[in-house]
């Protein structure tokens, strides 16, 4: 999404969406992914497709395999069988080509990549239980999200010279826009451990956004939040999807929110996909109602 910004405008200068794919084109494909821990089959021949710009929700009862699937996508778990294919522009994943020309695409199987490599390919995530550096400030935690984009070497960085300084300023500029987007100004310099739960969740989303991800994985982003925090977070996710065109894969139990903001929903139960469709299709799906939603919920 190229935008022209007039000089003096208060618009954000950085596009947080790191993907160069056209909206609506196929971005992520899981093909028959299976994962087992000993005798426990966490995922069994799970397939799903995520399209660029969609909010794609994964729902299902506890233990259905939602987080396991996210972990497979982000490389924390290695599935025993199947492929997870991320489509991206040709040449992605090397230092110079993080923002390459649009056009030809290149696909990578994430199932056998290291997590650090997957992060370089533009897959960012947040965790169900907050995983931040508790004693570092909000800004520092967010700057850490820029790590994959930092190019300067040790020596200039140590002395804050030329290119290191320029890059640092540019990175901080982007971080500040994320701070603004998530309304973290008042706590910018505070150690993360001193923040409320809701604010910590926002910092975690912020760190993922600072990567300028092509694909954002969110594990229960609004769990445990109060009504106002939920609204803010939901607004932020919708803005990212609708305005920046970012793809979001979301695990969430709050069905009202899921039904409201998702473009597509995949339902898991005991490691299997039992349904896949738009929110209205899912709401009417008998197997989903039996396994998860219950008859009162919708």
């Amino acid at each position: 999404m190229e935008r022209t910004i007039r000089e003096g405008s208060r618009a954000y200068q950085h596009n947080l969406n790191g993907s160069q794919l056209e909206i609506g084109s196929l971005q992520l494909e899981a093909r028959n992914v299976s994962l087992a821990f000993g005798g426990v089959r966490a995922l069994e021949r799970v397939s799903l497709e995520v399209r660029q710009g969609d909010v794609h929700a994964l729902i299902g009862p506890n233990g259905a395999g939602k987080t396991s699937l996210l972990n497979c996508i982000s490389g924390l778990y290695k599935p025993q069988a199947g492929q997870i294919v991320l489509h991206g522009p040709a040449g992605a994943g090397t230092a110079e080509s993080l923002r390459p020309e649009r056009g030809s695409t290149r696909s990578r199987d994430l199932a056998h990549e290291r997590p650090s490599q997957i992060a370089r390919l533009g897959v960012a995530r947040s965790f169900q239980n907050i995983e931040l550096f508790r004693h570092m400030s909000v800004v520092d935690n967010l700057l850490l999200g820029r790590h994959v984009h930092m190019r300067h070497r040790l020596w200039p960085a140590l002395w804050y010279l030329g290119s290191a300084r320029r890059q640092e300023i540019a990175h901080r500029g982007l971080v500040e826009e994320v701070i603004d987007l998530l309304e973290l100004q008042a706590v910018r310099a505070a150690p993360v451990a001193t923040l409320s739960y809701g604010a910590q969740k926002r910092v975690e989303l912020g760190r993922a956004l600072c990567m300028q991800p092509a694909l954002l994985l969110l594990d229960e982003p609004i769990a445990g939040m109060n009504a106002e925090e939920k609204e803010d977070m939901t607004r932020a996710i919708l803005d990212l999807s609708q305005l920046a065109g970012m793809s979001v894969v979301l695990v969430e139990h709050d069905m009202a929110v899921v039904m409201d903001i998702s473009d597509r929903i995949t339902v898991l139960d005991f490691g299997r996909v039992i349904a896949d469709g738009t929110p209205s299709e899912i709401g009417r799906h008998q197997a989903v109602i039996d396994a998860y939603l219950g008859h009162q919920a919708i």
Binding site: R6, G8, R10, A11, E177, E183, A186, L243
Partner: protein, 678 residues
């Protein structure tokens, strides 16, 4: 009459002090300066742009925005064309926005962001005069397709292009500006009825600024933080009227939530805020000191006592002895200065409070701390300030003496009358109200009752708010309410006696001084029947009471739950008892209730500047007030809860009613230090 106008002043500053910083705003975590030269350039660009949009002399441009450089740029650009601005409070919603736009027959609105644009889009089609909506922050507006929307910088760019073909045109427009052109329209606070639009000319505002600075000089190196709405006269008064005459730098905060941090970073030299802000500061100090360890508390307790002694002597004009002075220096170093520093007040030479009375205890607290806090009195119709404390002549019970150039007279019925070059031009298209406010001799009828005490003005209350108790004592509800509000646990207080009796008359009395003014026949005995004493409706301060509950291990869920705890009632009964100890028997609060919700401007219960709308409250909570006089222990109130999906559920919840009869405080318990909530 001088023909000075704000655009002419700006042009002068751009030439004289072009490289000095006029405005700065924190963006991207950094203070971003705008010099006087750049400020003038942007004003010129926007003025050309506005002209291209058809803005003409005499027209009203509305601004609906938080404090940003764009607010002032829009103001000065409109004024350059001979037009004026009307500010709308950024927190205003539908009806209030509609009212001002309709009254002002506004065509062009300058709004800030998506939030404000949404409000305007919602009312756009209802107001026929509107043509253009300029927004300064495009984030979130990418998909808006309304044809009347245009971005601020786009208008500037068009203006810049137009300026090339219209060389010297704008200079002509600015030069044609006259001192008595209307510069700003301010909506009055509207504690009764809808806000009226008061027209203030360049000459009005400049005269007020000159008089204020004659009394309390402000220099070009002073720092000022602008965080209260520009729609309020107080903010226009310092940031614009004084700011452009003194040429100082105005700083804009990053966000509402960062005001305290930003205030501390800038360290302003001068500050003007309504009492609410100072009360919040005291509450904040109280909470933090109560959480501090015993050593710190002891140090502050001692330091504050020394500070109090010194302040007391200075205010009485007595000399401060060498010993006490040395002691004070030590106290300042160990206890007072660190607290001032935390509040961002170390550089502060003077700060003003006005708009509503501030409790003497809060006053004493700040003076002991070494903060030169002064009460001012004025209203929108006289550019915000007419009477003020002089340095070293601060008496808590008064609001001081008229500022230079201002005449003051008390009318026979006790009403305060003021006359000065700052008296406004009238209400916009409302001759009737104008005639009621300014008489033929140019006196402004303030509607406030007051009297002079040794040349210092004492303001009692709005003339129509003064009420009488059954035994005929006339008193000002505000006086009692302020006593109550001094408690850190009380957020708002509204007292009743013969309540709901607006025609109680203009007679007023001051219960403390015993000195009365005015009219002996007042009050309608029938309306008071069955209401033989004073009652109060209180809302608790969620922060301080919440912290107190945590310390006492009182569990609670919501605000309503907390407010109805037995223990919280006991706590508040002590607080009411303390306030009663300072009041004459006849006007002591006998029964009170803690409301299950906070008073909210969205519900019309308080104005945007947080003044209580007594009439609305008396009407809305009539059943509670009746119950207070019936003598029952409990009253059921309907409470509407709106869920996220928009559905509403009405529940009836019980509110306790507390009598004060059982509670008699010993004098020792009735006293309390200002800085602790324990």
């Amino acid at each position: 009459m001088t023909q000075a106008t704000f655009p002419k002043l700006l042009a002068g500053l751009a030439e004289r002090a072009g490289d000095r910083v006029a405005l700065q705003e924190k963006r991207y975590g950094v203070w971003q300066p705008i010099t006087w030269r750049r400020y003038y350039e942007r004003v010129r660009d926007l003025a050309h742009g506005l002209a291209a949009l058809g803005v003409q002399a005499g027209e009203v441009v509305a601004v609906l925005s938080d404090n940003r450089p764009e607010w002032l740029i829009a103001e000065l650009a409109a004024q350059s064309l001979g037009a004026c601005v009307v500010g709308i409070y950024p927190a205003s919603v539908g009806d209030e926005v509609r009212h001002i736009l309709t009254c002002g027959q506004v065509r062009v609105v300058v709004a800030e962001d998506q939030e404000q644009v949404d409000k305007l889009v919602g009312v756009w089609d209802e107001i026929g005069t509107l043509t253009t909506l300029i927004f300064s922050d495009p984030r979130g507006l990418e998909r808006y397709r309304q044809p009347y929307l245009i971005e601020f910088c786009e208008v500037e760019a068009r203006g810049r292009a137009l300026a090339e073909s219209r060389h010297g045109w704008l200079d002509g427009q600015i030069a044609a500006g006259r001192g008595d052109d209307i510069a700003v329209i301010c909506a009055t606070s509207g504690t009764t009825g809808r806000p009226k639009l008061a027209m203030l000319s360049h000459a009005n505002l400049l005269a007020m600024g000159r008089s204020l600075m004659e009394m309390d000089p402000i220099g070009q190196d002073d720092r000022y933080v602008s965080f209260l709405p520009f729609a309020w006269i107080g903010e226009q008064m310092l940031a614009v009227a004084c700011g452009m005459q003194a040429g100082f730098t105005t700083s804009f905060c990053e966000k509402a939530g960062t005001v305290r941090v930003d205030l501390r970073e800038i360290g302003p030299n001068v500050l003007f805020s309504p009492p609410r802000v100072f009360q919040d500061l005291v509450s904040d100090v109280q909470v933090r000191l109560d959480e501090a360890d015993a050593v710190k508390r002891a140090a502050f307790s001692w330091g504050h006592r020394v500070g109090e002694q010194v302040a007391e002597r200075r205010m009485r004009g007595q000399p401060v002895g060498v010993g006490l002075r040395l002691l004070h220096r030590l106290a300042d170093w160990v206890a007072l200065r660190p607290v001032r520093d935390q509040l961002g007040l170390t550089r502060l030479r003077r700060c003003y409070t006005g708009g509503a009375p501030l409790g003497p205890d809060v006053f004493r607290f700040f003076h002991a701390l070494g903060v030169n806090l002064k009460q001012i009195y004025g209203q929108t119709e006289i550019c915000g300030i007419a009477v003020a404390h002089r340095d070293e002549q601060i008496r808590f019970s008064t609001v001081g003496a008229p500022i230079p150039g201002t005449e003051l007279r008390i009318a026979d019925d006790g009403e305060i009358l003021l006359r000065s070059p700052a008296v406004f031009h009238g209400y916009y298209r409302n001759e009737e109200a104008t005639e009621a406010a300014i008489d033929a001799q140019g006196w402004l009828h303030t509607g406030d009752a007051g009297y002079l005490d040794d040349g210092h003005l004492v303001v009692i209350d709005r003339v129509k708010d003064v009420i009488a108790t059954p035994d005929g004592t006339r008193f000002s509800p505000a006086f009692i309410e302020n006593k109550l509000k001094f408690s850190p646990y009380v957020e708002e207080a509204v007292v009743f006696a013969g309540a709901g009796n607006p025609e109680a008359g203009a007679g007023v009395g001051n219960p403390e001084a015993g000195a009365g003014v005015g009219n002996p026949e007042a009050g309608n005995p029938k309306a008071r029947a069955g209401r033989p004493y004073i009652t109060a409706l209180l809302t608790i301060d969620a922060q301080t009471v919440g912290a107190w509950a945590e310390r006492r291990h009182v569990g609670y869920t919501t605000y309503s739950d907390l407010a109805q705890k037995r223990a919280v009632y006991d706590l508040l009964a002590m607080e009411v008892g303390r306030a009663n100890a300072d009041l004459p028997e006849a006007v002591q609060v006998r029964r009170f209730v803690l409301l299950h919700k906070q008073l909210d401007p969205d519900d019309d219960e308080v104005t945007r500047t947080r003044k209580v709308r007594r009439g609305v409250i008396a009407e809305r909570y009539a059943s509670i007030i009746d119950a207070l006089y019936r003598g029952t222990d409990e009253v059921m109130v309907p409470s509407v809860v709106t869920y996220q999906d928009g559905s509403k559920v009405e529940r009836r919840i019980p509110l306790r009613l507390q009598s004060m009869e059982a509670l008699k405080l010993t004098p020792a318990r009735a006293r309390r230090v200002a800085w602790s909530a324990r």
